[in-house]
C-alpha cells in the first residue's frame, strides 16, 4: 500500500476537466485507488465520485494506492496534482 498526501493547486479546484484527467489516468492502472478528503472516501477511478468531491483550491487529500503497480500509479497521479493537471506537451 502506498499513501501520499497532495494538495489541490488548481485555482478553480478539482472541476470537470481535471477530474476527468485524474480518472482517465487512474483507470490505466490495475491498483485500487482511493481518495480520502476530510474523512470522506471515494474511489479515485469513479468520475462521479471525484466530481462530487468538488475539491476546492487548497484542499488536502490523501491518495491511497493498493496493487501490483501501486508505486507507478502513485507517482503518476501525484505528478498530475503537482502540475495542476496541465498537459506537458504543447
Amino acid at each position: 500500500m502506498v499513501k501520499k498526501t497532495v494538495k489541490v493547486l488548481n485555482e478553480a479546484g478539482l472541476h470537470a476537466r481535471p477530474s476527468s484527467v485524474l480518472v482517465k489516468n487512474a483507470s490505466q492502472f490495475s491498483s485500487d485507488f482511493t481518495i480520502s478528503m476530510y474523512g470522506y472516501k471515494v474511489n479515485g477511478k469513479s468520475i462521479l465520485g471525484v466530481m462530487t468531491l468538488a475539491a476546492e483550491h487548497g484542499a488536502e487529500m490523501e491518495l491511497i494506492f493498493e496493487g501490483p503497480d501501486e508505486e507507478e500509479a502513485a507517482s503518476r497521479i501525484c505528478s498530475l496534482f503537482e502540475n495542476k493537471f496541465e498537459n506537458k506537451s504543447s
Binding site: N10, E11, A12, G13, H15, A16, R17, P18, S20, V23, K24, V42, N43, K45, S46, I47, L48, G49, M51, T52, A54, K84, F85, E86, N87, K88, S89, S90
Partner: protein, 584 residues
C-alpha cells in the same frame, strides 16, 4: 375543430439568431415513471445482464457519435462515456439488484438520483450544470432497457419544443434539418444554446410554452434574433416572417460575398477589419462577416464562468478561438477585471474606473497573471505567428517594464517545452489611459503594438462616467480632444514603426472609421455585427476623401464641427445604402 384559432405572440430570450418557420414537435419531458418493483433472487442475474447490455449499447452509440463529431462536441460525449463506465456506479447498481432485489430500472433510477441530488446540493455551479448530462444518461439507459429508445424522429423543418435539451440529444436533433428550437430552460452558456448558435439554428429560451395549447403539428414562427415566437401565425404574420427570412438570407449572402473580397478602399489602399470577441458562441460568425482575425479577445469570462482559469482550461479556450479564426491572428487581452467587472473577493470601490483593475490588479495577483501568461505562450506555441498579447490599462513605462519582466520569467520557465521564441509573441498595450497616449512616443519604443481602447479613453479624457445618466450625453466621441489623443498615439507609434489599431466602439461608427483610416490608422477591430457595414463604406470611398476628413477633424474646435464634418462626409455617400450602414 375550431374554425379560426387566434395567433399568439410569445416572448422569451433570444439565444440563437435567425427566423424559423415550421410545425411544432415536442421533445418528451422525460419525467420517467419507474416503479419500485422487487424481483426474485432467481432473476438477479437477468437484471444485471440487462443493465450491462444497456450500458454496452449506449457506449457503442456514443463512441460512434464521438468519432464523427468535432472537438468540443467530442469532449462532451467523452464525458458521458466516462460516466457510463464509472465503476462505482456499476457497483451500486449491481448491489441494488442483487442485495436489495430491485428491478434493473429502479436500481438505475435510484442510483443516478443519488448522485444527482448530491450534485444539486453541492456548492460549485459547474457541478449543477452536469446534472443535465447525468439525468440524460439515466433516462437513456432506462429507455434502452424498455426498448423504447426514442429515435428522436423529428420531422424535417420542425420547430422543437423542450424543457431543456441534453447535449447528446441536441446532437441527434441537429442531424435533421430543424427550423428552430424553443426551450423552457437553457442558459446562454448551456450546451444546447452553444450548439444552436454554431449550427445556425434559431433558438429562443426562457419560454414557458407549456401553458399554451401546443401540440405536434401546430404552426409556429420563431424569431431567434428578437427572442419571440408566434403560435398559429395568421396569413399576414406569416408573410411578414417570410419576408424577414428572405431579407435575412439576402443579407447573409451579400455578407458572405463581401466577406471574401479584399479590404481595400476605392482607390486601392488596404486596411484590416477584425472582430472583438468575448464568447465562444460568437466565433461561427467570424468568416461570414468578413473579419480578418480577432483584434480583441476579451478573457474575463474565464474568470466569471467558473469553468476554471487553470492554464489548461485557458489553453483550451484560446485554442478554440484560434481554430475558428484561422488564418487570422488573435490578440489576447489579459484579464481586465476589477472596476465594474468585480473580481471575486475584491472590495467595492468608490471609484472603480479609477481603481484596482486591469494591469494594477494583475500585478497584485501574480498567480493569476502568471497562469494567463503561461497559457498564452503555450497557445502561441500551438499556433505560431498568430497570437499577440495585449496588456490593459497601462498608464506609464514602469508598468510596461514590470509586466514584460514577468512575461519573460514565465517564458523562461517554459522554454524547455516550447518552440517559439519570446519575441515571436508580439507584446502590446492598450492605450486607454490618457497618460499613455500623451507618452505614446516613449512607450512605442518598449512594445510591439498599440491598441486604442477608445471607450475608456473618452471617459478618462472628458471625465465622464458613461453609466451616469445625468451626464452620459457628455460622453462624446466627437470631441476634438479625443481625436487629438488618437493622433498623438498614432504619431508615437509611427516614430517607432509599430502598428496601431482601434478596438473601441468608435471604430464601428462609419464616419469615424473613415476618419481613422484618413489619419493613417489602418487596423480596426469591432463587434462582428458591425464589420460588413463598415467594410462596405470603406471600400466605397477613396483614401483622399478620408484624409481630407481627418485633416478637418484634427483642426476642429468643437464637437459640433466634427459632427458636421462627419455628416457631410456621409452625405457624399450616394452609392451606399444608408440603411445597410446603420444596421451594420
Amino acid at each position: 375543430m375550431k374554425k379560426r384559432k387566434r395567433s399568439k405572440l410569445v416572448k422569451g430570450k433570444p439565444a440563437s439568431s435567425g427566423i424559423g418557420i415550421g410545425k411544432a414537435w415536442i421533445l418528451e419531458d422525460r419525467r420517467l415513471m419507474v416503479h419500485p418493483d422487487k424481483i426474485e433472487p432467481a432473476d438477479v442475474s437477468v437484471n444485471i445482464d440487462k443493465f450491462q447490455r444497456a450500458v454496452d449499447a449506449l457506449l457503442y452509440e456514443f463512441e460512434e457519435l464521438k468519432r464523427e463529431a468535432d472537438e468540443d462536441v467530442a469532449d462532451i460525449v467523452e464525458a458521458q462515456i466516462q460516466t457510463l463506465k464509472d465503476p462505482e456506479l456499476h457497483k451500486l447498481i449491481r448491489e441494488k439488484i442483487s442485495q436489495e432485489l430491485s428491478g434493473v430500472e429502479y436500481a438505475i433510477y435510484t442510483t443516478f438520483n443519488g448522485y444527482i441530488r448530491m450534485m444539486e446540493a453541492a456548492a460549485p455551479d459547474w457541478l449543477d450544470e452536469r446534472t443535465v448530462d447525468i439525468t440524460s444518461l439515466r433516462n437513456q439507459l432506462i429507455a434502452v432497457i424498455r426498448q423504447k429508445k426514442q429515435k428522436v424522429s423529428v420531422h424535417e423543418g420542425a420547430v422543437v419544443f423542450a424543457d431543456e435539451i441534453p447535449p447528446t440529444v441536441m446532437i441527434e436533433l441537429s442531424r435533421n434539418k430543424i427550423a428552430g428550437i424553443v426551450m423552457q430552460r437553457g442558459g446562454l452558456t448551456s450546451h444546447a444554446v452553444i450548439l444552436s448558435q454554431s449550427l445556425g439554428i434559431p433558438c429562443v429560451v426562457g419560454v414557458n410554452w407549456k401553458k399554451y395549447p401546443i401540440c405536434k403539428g401546430t404552426d409556429v414562427a420563431v424569431d431567434g434574433t428578437r427572442g419571440e415566437l408566434i403560435l398559429r401565425p395568421s396569413e399576414d404574420e406569416l408573410q411578414q416572417f417570410k419576408v424577414e427570412q428572405e431579407q435575412q438570407r439576402e443579407r447573409e449572402k451579400l455578407e458572405a460575398e463581401a466577406a471574401g473580397s479584399d479590404h481595400q478602399t476605392a482607390c486601392g489602399a488596404s486596411f484590416t477589419l477584425q472582430a472583438n470577441i468575448e464568447f465562444l458562441a460568437e466565433l461561427p460568425r467570424l468568416t461570414q462577416k468578413g473579419a480578418r482575425g480577432i483584434g480583441l479577445l476579451r478573457t474575463e469570462t474565464l474568470l466569471f464562468e467558473k469553468r476554471g482559469f487553470d492554464v489548461e482550461d485557458q489553453v483550451s479556450f484560446y485554442s478554440k478561438v484560434l481554430e475558428a479564426s484561422a488564418p487570422g491572428d488573435v490578440t489576447i487581452r489579459l484579464f481586465d477585471a476589477g472596476g465594474d467587472k468585480l473580481l471575486e473577493g475584491a472590495e467595492e470601490e468608490a471609484n472603480p474606473f479609477l481603481g484596482w483593475r486591469g494591469i494594477r490588479m494583475l500585478l497584485d495577483r501574480p498567480d493569476l497573471l502568471k497562469n494567463q501568461l503561461r497559457a498564452i505562450y503555450k497557445t502561441a506555441d500551438k499556433y505560431p505567428g498568430r497570437v499577440r498579447l495585449l496588456v490593459p490599462m497601462i498608464s506609464g513605462l514602469n508598468e510596461v517594464q514590470e509586466v514584460k519582466r514577468r512575461a519573460r520569467e514565465v517564458y523562461d520557465e517554459l522554454s524547455g517545452s516550447v518552440q517559439i521564441g519570446f519575441d515571436d509573441v508580439p507584446f502590446g498595450i492598450m492605450i486607454e489611459v490618457p497618460s499613455a497616449a500623451l507618452m505614446a512616443d516613449l512607450l512605442a519604443g518598449h512594445v510591439d503594438f498599440f491598441s486604442l481602447g477608445t471607450n475608456d479613453l473618452i471617459q478618462y479624457t472628458l471625465a465622464v462616467d458613461r453609466g451616469n445618466e445625468k451626464i452620459s450625453n457628455l460622453y462624446d466621441p466627437h470631441h476634438p480632444a479625443v481625436w487629438k489623443l488618437l493622433e498623438m498615439t498614432r504619431r508615437g507609434a509611427e516614430t517607432q514603426s509599430i502598428p496601431v489599431s482601434v478596438c473601441g466602439e468608435m471604430a464601428s461608427q462609419p464616419a469615424a472609421a473613415a476618419c481613422m483610416l484618413g489619419m493613417g490608422i489602418r487596423e480596426l477591430s469591432m463587434t462582428t455585427q458591425a464589420i460588413p457595414g463598415i467594410k462596405a463604406l470603406l471600400c466605397s470611398r477613396s483614401l483622399e476623401e478620408m484624409k481630407k476628413l481627418s485633416r478637418f477633424v484634427l483642426s476642429a474646435h468643437t464637437s459640433a464641427d466634427v459632427k458636421a464634418a462627419f455628416s457631410d462626409f456621409m452625405k457624399e455617400n450616394d452609392s451606399v445604402d444608408r440603411d445597410q450602414i446603420k444596421s451594420g
